[in-house]
């Protein structure tokens, strides 16, 4: 006997979340309200994503959690252990082995397959919130497709900075209808939002669930004269030499020495195992020894 239910949440709560997920999939990009529950972890730890994972996982799953691309942060480790214990799932750090991946702030570099599910932890689900604080008003704006203000804000960026300065949580339009916040992923990841896997978004404090079914059209908002650009640091990874991955910049010594490395740690390790070595890297086996 265990003193908690399968995947921690009680059945009635999971049914409520599951119904919200189905409506989210039926109306891509629309934020479905749900009654968020207390979870045994603080809000900043992604309780929305955790509740969605709890509603989706089966005992047959292999579960991966990434936090800014890394599997080994306190946040990622504790969520992984939580479901290992409460749902009996296998866990992995390898993207290709995972059937369900919960993420905060990144999409894995490796393309997801059609049998994989990506669950996002979302802090602020409403893309119009910083333009309009009232929930009643933002609901109306979505209902009427009044997205002009969003374009005005992006255009102000251009007039002030000469480019759209928004680098994270860059707004997208889903299937030509709803403007959606993709969560604070770098805009480098936006093109990957059109994928073969199922994407589910959970915001715990704000009590919203939304979804993008596979192969759904997801367009980053832009202008004819300032097209969207999925930019990243103009560097290769110093560990594995990858030129196509999103990079974190690290200060490595007191002299201001810098190092760029893949934010997706599994991707980087995989490349190093294959023998790729970056400018400041050492061969994989040597490092592990």
């Amino acid at each position: 006997m265990t003193d908690y239910n399968f995947a921690y949440l009680d059945e009635q709560t999971k049914r409520m979340i599951r119904r919200a997920i189905l409506k989210g999939l039926a109306i891509p990009g629309y934020q479905v309200p749900f009654a968020s529950r207390e979870m045994p972890m603080p809000y900043g730890w992604g309780t929305g994503g955790v509740q969605v994972s709890a509603a989706v996982l089966t005992p047959d799953d292999t579960f991966k959690v990434i936090d800014q691309g890394a599997d080994d942060t306190t946040n990622a480790v504790s969520i992984r252990r939580f479901f290992q214990k409460t749902a009996g799932v296998k866990v992995t750090e390898a993207t290709e082995e995972a059937s369900v991946i919960q993420t905060r702030h990144r999409i894995p570099e490796q393309d997801l397959r059609d049998d994989q599910i990506l669950v996002y932890q979302v802090p602020i689900p409403e893309p119009l919130r910083f333009l309009e604080p009232s929930e009643v008003e933002t609901r109306k704006m979505h209902a009427l497709e009044e997205y002009g203000l969003m374009h005005v804000k992006l255009y102000e960026d251009i007039s002030q900075h000469g480019a759209i300065a928004t680098a994270y949580a860059y707004p997208v339009k889903v299937e030509g209808r709803y403007v959606m916040d993709p969560s604070p992923i770098p805009k480098f990841d936006n093109p990957k939002l059109e994928m073969a896997g199922i994407q589910l978004f959970g915001a715990g404090r704000e009590q919203r669930i939304y979804a993008i079914p596979p192969y759904t059209q997801v367009v980053s908002l832009d202008f004819d004269d300032y097209p969207f650009e999925a930019s990243k640091a103009d560097h290769a990874c110093d560990l594995c030499g990858a030129e196509d991955s999103y990079l974190d910049e690290l200060i490595v010594d007191d002299e201001g020495g810098r190092m760029f490395m893949c934010s997706d740690t599994d991707y980087c390790a995989g490349r190093r195992k294959q023998g790729h070595v970056g400018a400041q890297g050492v061969p994989y086996a040597e490092d592990a020894a």
């Binding site: 239910n5 399968f6 995947a7 059945e11 009635q12 999971k14 049914r15 409520m16 599951r18 119904r19 919200a20 997920i21 189905l22 409506k23 989210g24 999939l25 039926a26 109306i27 891509p28 629309y30 479905v32 309200p33 509603a55 989706v56 996982l57 089966t58 005992p59 047959d60 059609d114 609901r139 109306k140 979505h142 209902a143 009427l144 299937e175 209808r177 709803y178 073969a196 199922i198 979804a211 993008i212 079914p213 596979p214 192969y215 759904t216 059209q217």
Partner: protein, 186 residues
């Protein structure tokens, strides 16, 4: 209440429901794709797939409408015992169960402009369910898929209401497929 009503539920509700939901979710995310489910044996003429869907999604918070062909005491008892869902008129339903002929689409809530999710999901018992017939396109479908659907005009009308509209789960034996409002049918 007859003892039959007490039987035919999930053996292990938390994990049976978890597996069933994954099948239903995958089907809703990939319109036209046929999923298999098991774990429930509701009274005839309800199919296994309809029974599983009701046990997985319905409870005292979800008013259910029963179509004429399934509105029998035995079925009412089974649904009441296993889910606790209140039985209501079509206009108040979050879920509906029945044959295609049973269900008049105009009677069900399709949501509001602010809350398009406040709309009914129709669980429709169909005699055949195969990847032939109507062509489906839209979110969740790579190029196109095919599905035997009971009507085409009705789903085209439903699509015109997007983002409002009804969502459908077609059930046949232990198999099911979904047609959300976002799908274009031709």
């Amino acid at each position: 209440m007859q003892s039959l009503a007490l039987e035919g539920g999930f053996q292990n509700a938390p994990t049976d429901a978890a597996h069933a939901f994954r099948s239903i979710m995958t089907a809703m995310a990939r319109p036209g794709e046929i999923s298999r489910v098991d774990g429930a044996t509701p009274p005839a003429p309800l199919s296994v797939a309809t029974g599983v869907t009701l046990l997985t999604l319905c409870d005292p918070d979800t008013p259910v409408f029963l179509g004429k062909s399934v509105n029998a005491q035995e079925i009412i008892d089974w649904i009441t015992f296993h889910t606790g869902a209140p039985l209501v008129e079509a206009k108040d339903a979050m879920f509906a169960v029945g044959s295609w002929q049973d269900l008049t689409l105009d009677d069900f809530p399709i949501g509001t402009a602010e809350y398009p999710d406040r709309s009914a999901t129709l669980i429709v018992e169909v005699p055949t369910l195969d990847n032939t017939g109507a062509i489906l396109a839209g979110p969740g479908i790579k190029d196109t898929s095919r599905l035997t659907v009971p009507d085409i005009d009705a789903f085209q009308t439903n699509r015109q209401n997007f983002p409002l509209g009804l969502d459908f789960i077609f059930t046949c034996g232990n198999r099911l497929a979904c047609l959300p409002r976002s799908t274009r049918v031709s």
